[in-house]
């Protein structure tokens, strides 16, 4: 009976089984496993049933630790339970995993194996996480492909029920989890046939049950623990047989026979490679080719890693073997060798020692593919060649250039094993332009052809806006095992013209390949627009070059900006993968399927676009010679710092793989201020300042998420050498007759979000639609504005003291030390961070939780955290997700200790320094920036004097002097951290009473990982794991902190009151104790036009969803104050919420539920407001009057 074939990725393949054989899924999102949990949640909300006819419950927990606990509890009470995780998440589950295995409880955890954060975090794939869990006693079963991720998920489920040992089923993160492939899917009948209901019943019978009570989790003593630990041995001894049985039963059903260890290659191989995971697919492809040329090599693919059955391993390897290379996709620093290598070595050693083998082959071990580093046939060949070397390297690495420890093997990049009958295609696009979606659709279409196989892999860069995407697709007549990026491309497409100036896109092109370019230039004119190197490749490789103005075709069809269907049509038309007419018919079918219910005209527009496409697709006749003098601009200018030029620039150019080990800092320390060298130019429009209309209020500079608006005042004489066209205006305000105000735009860094325009309160008298800052096309003013900005950067900084930086109008002059991040255009979080650096940046330490802020803050190649002209700036680190508050507390403990020591030493040196001076420094008040600067000067003078004192304590003091200047510790993160996984630590830090400031950038959802609900998600909002609208109300984190009594708490929203925001930052810093600021951050996950983000902030406050307040703890005997800064709700919640898709979509899906939750949300608002007003009455502001509303309505300003 033919089964269905389906095109899907590894995550879906595994989840499809896990969902059907479980009753409970307790999860927590973490890349790259999140999709599995999301699919389970989606299926549950659709009412899909498992094989027992019931819909599994899917529950999102507060952390992986919580998920593991919930899983343990559910298992102990007899439910079939699973979870999906990776990396750090798996680590957090380890304690429970010991318990679950110790209690012999069947379960399967599905892991998209990912690197662990060590010198850096990485979201990409290797085996470090599962290897870290290998001591837990779990069985470990490894899948190497999407088909295996599907099949072995089921085999694991059978085996765990039979053996009672829990299983980790793992596959390579991203490489397999996100690879799209055509596989045979198992139907419910297959799944049923693999699960014995007797075993399920046995599991239930062992459950905790008051009808047959038992106790578990006892404490044991030295008299029995050892024996009890050993009592599990028979279960582990029996496990390999259970797995074999499962595999055989599976083979009977499907014809696919798996083994614990599978051998491929020459029956009499002398050289054998042992590995597991996706690399095995590549190794197999390579060995097949090498053996065609008589290499006589073989490969052992490991499926069951734990328990490690030495007998099965040895039995799988031909006796002819002379040398073995064991490849580990992990690193265990300090070990005698990596885990798989050690196991293989031990197996052979024991066999030889016990007489099972007569001789010991030469066994080497090596590391490959860490963090999804490419693992190619050339590297496999190098490993095998190494075995034949006279002096084979052991503990080698392959795929990198290790010029420090010299572990790396050389490999021949020209060795390629892509089959002739497999068509490799590479597509370059920009995020959200539909390229990836269209390619996934193409894979589906081709996959549906009975004879075709298709594979797709997608590469993204690290930015959240304007990011580049590269799609690697292969099509062929056989299952595709090439688990590496396309090396020989017959078809290359570039969907965004500007990429030709940024990327070397014909590198993989074979001779005679097709290159399709979306070009705004005519077929005659496009040649002259190409860089010389591209022209050279086109000619040299005899490329068939096609162009189409896809944007114009889309526009004409009424679908401006939607080019994906058009480019997809071109692909099918010229790649020859499918017959043209058939392909076009299939495209139209899928258009109907996608848009049919959304509107007939959407379908027709798409059809029109498809039909128009072919008339506009043109082949370009290549000239005989290169004519262009254009070349790609250098990635960074010549005056960039050395590290930036040598290392950062390479990464920016996409050539990071070529960096040798010596180029990377050993301890993971990187310089700041690197984002300024990355001129991304992702927007075609930029703001233009109109000095005559401007009232110099400072709002635009305050709200710019990318710090692309810079403001300074200077003496007018400084402008004598300004370039023509440099705009300035007299500084508004009395007493500064010679000062000029200037506002400049970093046009290459602006993302075009338009928040500055939306926030500007000033309007032209003559034209009400013209503000003091308006968007305009970038191209005409590009050169001029670059010169203006370069000149602007030479103007002196404005120092504290001349302008009142406690006002929005004053803070705009302060130098930002957070600039040009890779955050989404219009991000709601970044303006708060930038403000933080303007106020305290030169003495700031930031502990940053994992999340959006750690990604746009610290994802290589660049960081937006920056420095001032003195070279000072924020010192920043990301530790983990769950520990961020504690991590920041650690900063404060250390700073306080060192300051205490410095003071002790200072006092001890009183005779030498004088009591007055010592007292002045020791007791200096350092609250205002001026006071801090004064102390800096005192300390600098002291350093000079100390140098002349020849005493041990003077020398010691010199090493600690900097601690006498006040340092500011800020603990930053999102709501996922603060409300959920990090809450325990946050709570403890609040309770500690220490002087730390906590800034929660509250987007009300897990933004970084794609919008999963957190406890901050409000009632009625739709998010992943709250697909039917969040039922529970939003947690009131602020109120919980107020309850401590000694914590400064502020709830702020820049779009509702910039001044209150500023006040809160200053008050938090001044408060000598814990401070908590919760900052409303609009986000792309809210489903809004980001240009209206600040408007939404104001509406959130106006409707009472986000009241603004500041709780000031009691000081010096005065009572606490609860200052309510916003007014009573004046509009219904609906007026705010229904501007956002996250609320609105529920009204489409389930109008009754939407109405119900909206009514409850309105009640939440009313209730909360009454609690807050009663607190404001109980703890009034000091003057005795309720403090007036801080909301500055933007007064209309007339400026001539």
């Amino acid at each position: 009976m033919a089964r269905k074939m389906k095109t899907l990725d590894g995550n879906e393949a595994a989840a499809s089984i896990a969902y059907r054989v479980n009753e409970i899924c307790a999860i927590y999102p973490i890349t790259p496993s999140s999709t599995m949990g999301e699919l389970a949640d989606q299926w549950a909300s659709e009412g899909r049933k498992n094989i027992w006819g019931t819909v599994p419950h899917v529950v999102e927990m507060q952390s992986e630790g919580g998920a593991a606990g919930a899983v343990h509890g559910a298992l102990q009470t007899g439910a079939l339970t699973t979870t999906f995780t990776a990396s750090q998440g798996l680590l957090l589950m380890i304690p429970n995993m010991f318990k679950i295995a110790g209690e012999l409880t069947p379960a399967v955890f599905h892991v998209a194996a990912r690197s662990l954060a060590a010198q850096a975090l990485s979201i990409f794939g290797d085996h470090s996480d599962v290897m870290a869990a290998r001591m837990t006693g779990w069985a470990m079963l490894c899948s190497s492909s999407v088909q295996e991720a599907h099949d072995l998920a089921l085999i694991a489920q059978h085996a765990t029920l039979a053996s009672r040992i829990p299983f980790i089923h793992f596959f390579d993160g991203f490489r397999t989890s996100h690879e799209v492939s055509k596989i045979e899917v198992l139907d419910d009948g297959d799944v049923r046939a693999m699960i014995d209901d007797d075993l399920v019943r046995a599991h239930r019978d062992r459950a905790l049950n008051p009808d047959r009570p038992v106790i578990r989790g006892v404490a044991q003593n030295p008299d029995v623990y050892f024996q009890a630990r050993e009592s599990v041995n028979p279960y582990y001894a029996a496990l390999p047989e259970h797995v074999r049985t499962a595999m055989d039963r599976f083979a009977g059903l499907t014809g696919r026979q798996y083994k614990l260890f599978e051998y491929f290659g020459a029956a009499d191989a002398e050289r054998v490679v042992v590995l597991m995971g996706s690399g095995a697919e590549t190794a197999r492809e390579t060995i097949e080719r090498l053996n065609q040329d008589g290499a006589n090599a073989g490969l052992v693919q490991v499926h069951l890693f734990r328990p490690f059955s030495a007998a099965d391993l040895l039995a799988s390897i031909p006796l002819s073997v002379r040398s073995i290379a064991v490849l580990d996709r992990t690193k265990e620093p300090g070990a005698a060798g990596e885990p798989l290598y050690q196991d293989v070595l031990t197996a052979f050693c024991e066999a030889v020692a016990l007489g099972g083998r007569s001789s010991m082959p030469h066994i080497t071990g090596g590391r490959y593919g860490l963090s999804s580093k490419e693992f190619t046939p050339a590297m496999v060949k190098a490993v095998i060649d190494n075995l034949s070397s006279n002096t084979p390297k052991n503990h080698f690495t392959v795929g990198i250039n290790d010029d420090v420890s010299h572990t790396s093997l050389e490999y021949d990049r020209a060795f390629v094993t892509e089959a002739e009958d497999v068509v490799g295609c590479v597509f370059y696009g920009l995020g959200a332009d539909g390229t990836v979606g269209a390619n996934k659709n193409s894979i589906k279409i081709i996959g549906e052809e009975a004879s075709g196989y298709a594979q797709g892999f997608f590469v993204y860069d690290s930015k959240k806006s304007g990011s580049r995407t590269t799609s690697h697709l292969r099509f062929g007549p056989r299952p595709i095992r090439s688990t590496y990026l396309v090396q020989r491309a017959r078809f290359i497409a570039c969907h965004q013209f500007q990429l030709v100036h940024q990327l070397d896109m014909l590198r993989e092109a074979v001779e005679g390949a097709v290159f399709l370019l979306n070009s705004p230039f005519s077929v005659e004119g496009v040649w002259d627009e190409l860089p010389a190197s591209l022209q050279e490749q086109l000619i040299g490789k005899r490329i068939r070059f096609y162009v189409i103005d896809a944007d114009a075709v889309a526009e004409a069809a009424g679908m401006a900006g939607r080019i994906n269907t058009i480019m997809q049509t071109c692909f099918f038309a010229i790649s020859g993968v499918l017959p043209r007419d058939e392909a076009i018919e299939k495209i139209k079918q899928s258009i109907r399927a996608t848009y049919g219910r959304k509107g007939a005209d959407l379908v027709e527009q798409n059809f029109a676009a498809v039909d128009r496409t072919l008339e506009h697709l043109c082949e370009v006749t290549l000239p005989a010679n290169v004519t262009s003098t254009r070349e790609r601009a250098p990635v960074v200018p010549a005056d960039a710092p050395a590290f930036v030029q040598q290392v950062t620039a390479m990464m920016m150019a996409g050539r990071g793989d070529d960096l040798p080990v010596s180029a990377l800092p050993a301890d993971g320390t990187y310089p700041s201020a690197t984002a300024r060298w990355e001129k991304r130019n992702i927007s075609d429009t930029v703001p233009e300042w109109q000095p005559a209309i401007c009232i110099q209020c400072g709002n635009c500079a305050l709200v710019c998420p990318h710090s692309a608006i810079r403001v300074r005042y200077c003496d007018q004489s400084a402008l004598a050498v300004a370039p023509t066209g440099f705009r300035s205006a007299p500084l508004a305000g009395r007493g500064f007759p010679n000062l000029r105000f200037t506002l400049q735009i970093a046009v290459e860094d602006c993302t075009g979000c338009e928040l500055c325009v939306e926030t500007c309160p000033a309007r032209s008298l003559e034209s009400a639609g013209t503000r003091a800052i308006n968007m305009t096309a970038k191209a005409p003013l590009f050169d001029r504005e670059r010169m203006n900005f370069a000149f602007f950067e030479t103007l002196p900084d404005n120092v504290h003291g001349r302008m009142d930086a406690s006002l929005v109008r004053g803070v705009q002059y302060l130098t930002p030390m957070f600039e040009y991040s890779g955050a989404c255009a219009g991000c709601g979080e970044t303006p708060y961070l930038r403000l933080l650096t303007q106020l305290f940046g030169d003495r700031l330490l930031v502990a940053n939780a994992t999340g959006c802020s750690s990604i746009y803050g610290g994802n290589l190649p660049t960081t937006p955290w920056s420095i001032n002209r003195d070279g000072h700036g924020p010192a920043w680190a990301n530790s983990l997700f769950e520990d961020n508050a504690e991590f920041g507390l650690g900063y404060r403990l250390s700073l306080d200790k060192h300051r205490e020591q410095a003071r002790e030493l200072l006092e001890a040196l009183e005779p030498q320094l004088g009591a007055d001076r010592v007292g002045e420094i020791r007791d200096a008040r350092q609250v205002t920036p001026e006071e801090v600067d004064q102390q800096r000067r005192r300390v600098a003078a002291l350093a000079v004097d100390l140098a002349a004192i020849d005493r041990a304590d003077a020398r010691a003091l010199r090493g600690l002097l900097e601690h006498l200047v006040r340092r500011s510790v800020w603990i930053v993160g999102g709501d996922g951290w603060a409300y959920d996984i990090g809450y325990g630590g946050l709570d403890h830090v609040l309770a500690s009473g220490r002087n730390v400031n906590i800034l929660v950038l509250d987007t009300e959802v897990y933004s970084n990982t794609g919008g999963q609900a957190s406890k901050s998600t409000p009632r009625g909002a739709v998010a992943k794991f709250a697909a039917g609208g969040k039922r529970g109300r939003k947690k009131d984190l602020g109120l919980m902190a107020v309850a401590y009594g000694n914590v400064y708490v502020a709830q702020i929203a820049m779009g509702a009151s910039p001044q209150q925001t500023l006040d809160a930052f200053l008050e938090a810093e001044a408060h000598d104790g814990p401070s908590l600021i919760i900052a409303y951050s609009h986000c792309i996950a809210h489903g809004i036009n980001m240009r209206y983000g600040l408007r939404q902030q104001k509406l959130a406050t106006d409707c009472g969803h986000w009241p603004l307040y500041r709780f000031k703890p009691p000081t010096n005997g005065y009572a606490p104050q609860f200052v309510l800064d916003s007014q009573a709700p004046s509009i219904p919640v609906k007026a705010y919420a229904y501007n956002e898709i996250r609320y609105k979509m529920l009204t489409y899906m389930n109008p009754d539920e939407a109405a119900r939750l909206l009514a409850l949300a309105q009640q939440d608002v009313d209730q909360r407001w009454s609690v807050y007003t009663s607190m404001a009455e109980r703890w009034p502001a000091r003057s005795g009057h309720p403090e007036r509303s801080r909301i500055g309505r933007k007064e209309p300003v007339e400026v001539s």
């Binding site: 890349t31 909300s45 920009l430 995020g431 390229t435 005209d601 794609g1010």
Partner: protein, 332 residues
């Protein structure tokens, strides 16, 4: 008192109809309208533009930012049934038709040729007893002629008439160069009723904030004069029914409109101001007046002061102006 009325072939208990308004958005208020005496309810308009916009917005916001960043390939869950369409409106038609005995008249403001037909068809299928075409179109394009605009209106009517078999009313504004001619053409195009007149909401300026503010002001009794004039002129000259709307605040306006020749009189503003209970009061007043004047039925009253009934009245065709001049005629 016989208040029975025939409107586009529908038999109604009285000439008082609740016009399109927020009161017709919910089942409970629709029921209350029936209880208080509305003889039919015109639902709030379905705006094709709104649906297309919202569908486009939903599609856009679900798509934006997707497949850009490896950790967040999408920002929203995949959910079934998340589509923007007329389904909620159609569901209301179904429910309302089942809940009340009085006819539910759906109201449609379309924008595309296809949209007019598709939505009208769906409305008929859902059980609407009639459709009111709310042709609300402000011709701002300077190159479009009056004739082109008129053709557009007629085209819409023709399309919808060809697609449905239930009666089709056409609600228009008065801004045609030759309104009588237009009314006749609409009548011949198959309109089963003319609803006079649509009120166009013009924006206002807030001079302090210098922002354009949309306004929603309820009508006043003075506003009946324009529709009153035209109903009086058209009565008897068109085959289709005539519905009066705008400015109805008491039985007085109802009576005036009926006398001019209206088949039904619709109210929105009064219902929004006073609630559905207002209808009961109007019915009572209407009954009392008719009794006092000796009328036995609304049919008897209808058109009694139309131009047809007062052919010599210059007031209709020349307005007050001529009366004023006349006073200066030399006495002969």
């Amino acid at each position: 008192m016989n208040l029975a009325t025939r409107y586009m072939g529908l038999m109604l208990d009285s000439p008082l109809v609740a016009s399109a308004s927020p009161l017709s958005q919910r089942l409970d208020t629709i029921r209350e309208l029936e209880d208080r005496g509305a003889s039919a309810v015109v639902l709030f308009s379905l705006f094709e533009e709104q649906i297309r916009h919202d569908a486009g917005a939903l599609d856009y916001f679900m798509r934006v930012g997707t497949d850009s960043f490896g950790e967040a390939l999408s920002y929203f869950p995949v959910v079934e049934g998340c589509e923007v369409g007329p389904s909620q409106y159609l569901e209301l038609i179904r429910k309302a038709s089942a809940a009340v005995d009085i006819p539910i008249i759906a109201s449609l403001n379309g924008t595309t040729d296809r949209g007019w037909i598709d939505f009208a068809t769906l409305m008929e299928e859902a059980g609407a007893k009639a459709i009111e075409l709310n042709i609300y179109y402000i011709p701002t394009a300077m190159h479009r002629t009056g004739a082109q605009i008129e053709e557009q209106y007629l085209d819409v009517v023709a399309r919808v008439k060809s697609a449905v078999s239930i009666p089709v009313a056409v609600k228009v504004g008065p801004y045609f160069s030759s309104f009588a001619h237009m009314a006749g053409r609409l009548d011949r195009a198959g309109a089963n009723a003319l609803v006079l007149f649509n009120r166009f909401y013009q924006p206002d300026f807030d001079i302090e904030t210098r922002a354009v503010a949309p306004t929603l002001s309820l009508s006043t009794p003075e506003e009946i004069r324009l529709p009153l004039l035209w109903i009086a002129l058209l009565y008897g000259h068109v085959k289709c029914s005539l519905a009066a709307t705008t400015g109805v605040h008491s039985a007085t306006e109802v009576i005036k409109y009926l006398m001019a020749g209206a088949d039904v009189v619709m109210s929105t503003s009064a219902l929004l101001r006073h609630g559905p209970s207002w209808l009961a009061g109007v019915h009572q007043d209407l009954n009392e007046w008719m009794e006092r004047k000796g009328y036995e039925s609304v049919d008897q009253l209808r058109g009694s002061m139309s131009h047809k009934a007062l052919p010599d009245s210059m007031a209709f065709v020349r307005g007050n102006y001529i009366r004023i001049l006349e006073s200066y005629k030399s006495p002969t």
